[in-house]
Symmetry: C2
Subunit: 415 residues, 2 copies
């Protein structure tokens, strides 16, 4: 599914790292998603019909009334002061008391990951992360020349205990999506969070917590972010970075993410951002700020959660009914993804073209592995389809799976 890497030559003199880089399988699939009638379980997109268009229009109007020229002008590299104050309030609601000074606004949480990679990593240094993990984080770290230390994951998230094993090479940085991880849907347990913090302090390792989905909880008990738990672990605040975004709860089109940084790291990240893009757009920041101040986000979150819960359940129920024991998965407590594995050994990458023919697409799990992929895994997003469409999508997937089995049977008989 991945395109061929571009080859280096005197006529196409790409940098070594980029010449061997592959395009994101997922973003390439977005093209397929736009085909008429296609039902996509592939993207990590939020549901567009749940966007608060009216609220954003109001926020824009307010910006244009109050301070249009500030919103259209250059601003500070670390972000508009007003938005950073609003994000500090948001962090307080998430249990972490951080001053606006420690918050840096970024172009989505993706840029925060790249900024951290550039500020912290020299080529060849190690990053520990879940396997499977968020693909674009793998790419950003790889662009900075990182080596990976893979942590297996289970229902309680990354098995951080592997880090404590003296045989595990010590990473410079640990990167984890702590709530409803992409792709596994798992949430890091409180016990593991605490153990990770203890270890990070003792071993002087930066822990980057990426939390794009935390507000989209549909069940289970909420777990405080590491940056909040750090209060109880002496020295831990020095090593905790928290990254989040407004993309999943407000709008990805604004591209507003942010990082909460320890003091020693903040200035370095801001300097890197100066060189990368000077700043994130002032207009989008001012609009996001007015929106956050309007209180509409808190009002709308229950509605968002209810809609996604309904979709999650529709997908999970349909999968259970359509596949039975053949497809193993856990119902996630939130987020947008169901991570599943064929117990019959079906290869998800081989399934994809058949599924596409049936009018449904998904992401084969192999895309989320830096190495050693499990070919029987797949990621199914429930975010962008209505419950009835999810049922139809599973039916198409089930057809494709039967065709895959039939052709595998033919191949076996022919052999």
């Amino acid at each position: 599914m991945d395109r061929e890497p571009v080859r280096y030559s005197a006529d196409t003199p790409l940098s070594q790292r980029v010449a061997s880089m592959r395009s994101s399988a997922i973003r390439d699939l977005l093209h397929d998603a736009q085909r008429p009638g296609m039902l996509s379980l592939a993207g990590g997109l939020p549901a567009a019909e749940l966007f608060d268009v009216e609220g954003i229009e109001r926020a824009f109007a307010q910006v244009m009334r109050d301070a249009p020229r500030r919103a259209l002008q250059y601003g500070a590299t670390d972000g508009q002061p007003s938005l950073r104050a609003s994000l500090a309030t948001l962090m307080a609601q998430r249990g972490a008391d951080v001053p606006p000074k420690r918050i840096v606004v970024t172009a989505g949480s993706q840029q925060a990951i790249d900024l951290l990679a550039r500020a912290l990593l020299d080529a060849g240094q190690r990053v520990a992360l879940e396997r499977p993990s968020y693909l674009a984080a793998l790419q950003a770290f790889a662009l900075s020349g990182a080596q990976f230390v893979a942590l297996p994951a289970d229902a309680e998230g990354a098995q951080v205990e592997h880090l404590f094993d003296p045989a595990t090479p010590r990473p410079k940085l640990v990167y984890l999506v702590t709530n409803f991880a992409n792709p596994t849907g798992a949430t890091l347990s409180l016990e593991r969070r605490r153990a990770l913090l203890d270890w990070a302090v003792r071993n002087r390792v930066v822990v980057v917590e990426d939390d794009p989905y935390g507000e989209l909880r549909m069940g289970g008990a909420a777990c405080p972010p590491l940056v909040a738990l750090a209060r109880d672990v002496p020295g831990a605040a020095h090593w905790c970075v928290y990254v989040s975004t407004l993309s999943k709860v407000l709008s990805p089109g604004l591209r507003i993410g942010f990082a909460v940084l320890p003091d020693w790291l903040r200035d370095a990240v801001v300097r890197v951002k100066q060189a990368l893009d000077l700043q994130t757009g002032s207009l989008a920041q001012e609009v996001a700020d007015r929106y956050l101040r309007s209180g509409r986000l808190a009002e709308r979150l229950p509605q968002l959660r209810a809609a996604y819960r309904e979709r999650r359940d529709a997908l999970c129920d349909a999968l259970a009914a359509g596949f039975g024991d053949v497809l193993r998965f856990q119902r996630p407590d939130g987020g947008m993804f169901v991570w599943a594995r064929f117990a019959d050994g079906s290869d998800a990458s081989a399934l994809l073209p058949l599924a596409r023919d049936e009018g449904v697409i998904f992401v084969p799990g192999a895309a989320f592995y830096d190495e050693g992929p499990d070919p029987s895994t797949l990621r199914l997003s429930f975010a962008t389809l209505a419950p009835a469409q999810l049922c139809e999508a599973v039916e198409r997937l089930s057809h494709a799976h039967r065709r895959l089995g039939a052709s595998a049977g033919r191949a076996a008989r022919a052999a």
Copy 2:
């Protein structure tokens, strides 16, 4: 003026490159610029009172009427198709016939520079650029580990002939601001543009033309961009990259820049951008697109040029009257900057604190040199002050200069 670089230690484990990085002197000066009564000749900001607030409000309203959910959703990494088509039209107006497919939307032109650095440069490879040069480009290239080959500049822009000297190490990439360069204000002559293209083809070197100011021409004859001239030089199109932005003519707060790329480079740049920030904000792109389609930019450019011409002349006239032969400078044909040099050996960095006391700031020229700075140089921006303010600013600068001379005289007598 630069802050101390942060030191590497086990408790502040920054990457090597970032630990030695300094903050932008110019962006640090922005804090001073906000002091009440301060007249700033320091920033590279466009004049906020010239922003077309009404036009942007209309463009936003149109987006929200036509396609609000597309503008608030994720989009393609290379940019919204409609905006890329509008930018192709803009390029045709600038003399270059390029298909939308070869245009990638970026977070300002600054990000385009970083994307190119990452796609093209391995650590230790050489970038040729003017000395003095655009500071943030130096920073972006340095972050990718580039070595610099400096080209001296004169009234016709960078002396590209230095590249043709066999004694000059061959760079992998040449970076030039071709029109009204930042900081020198000089424009690369047509003869030099043609010679550079010939050389680039023969030597297989990528030429990056950065053109943020080209539309702000106030005098002299326009010179086609390299990407347009490349038509007449067989093979040259393969090596030409053009980078520009809407920041100077529309609004920096939208953060919309773009790169025009040869086919072999396009996919690599898009892959890097996937890892960096997934995409530039869809909303800002859609607003910029509707604005460009409204035709208001073409209507307003004469007005913008006239306003900046008046300011340029006010500053240049005041400098000539206030300093006479002591301050040497050339009246630029466009852009936002006057580059000047004290003929009496005054040190611009020593002048800055005295000037700040008098209520005026500027950027000492040393900030624009990768090495070997000329301490007598300074950059004066005329963009954000009204003509009367520019006269007052020069008067304050002249006071400060007299005080500097007096204190230098005292120091000489004391020695």
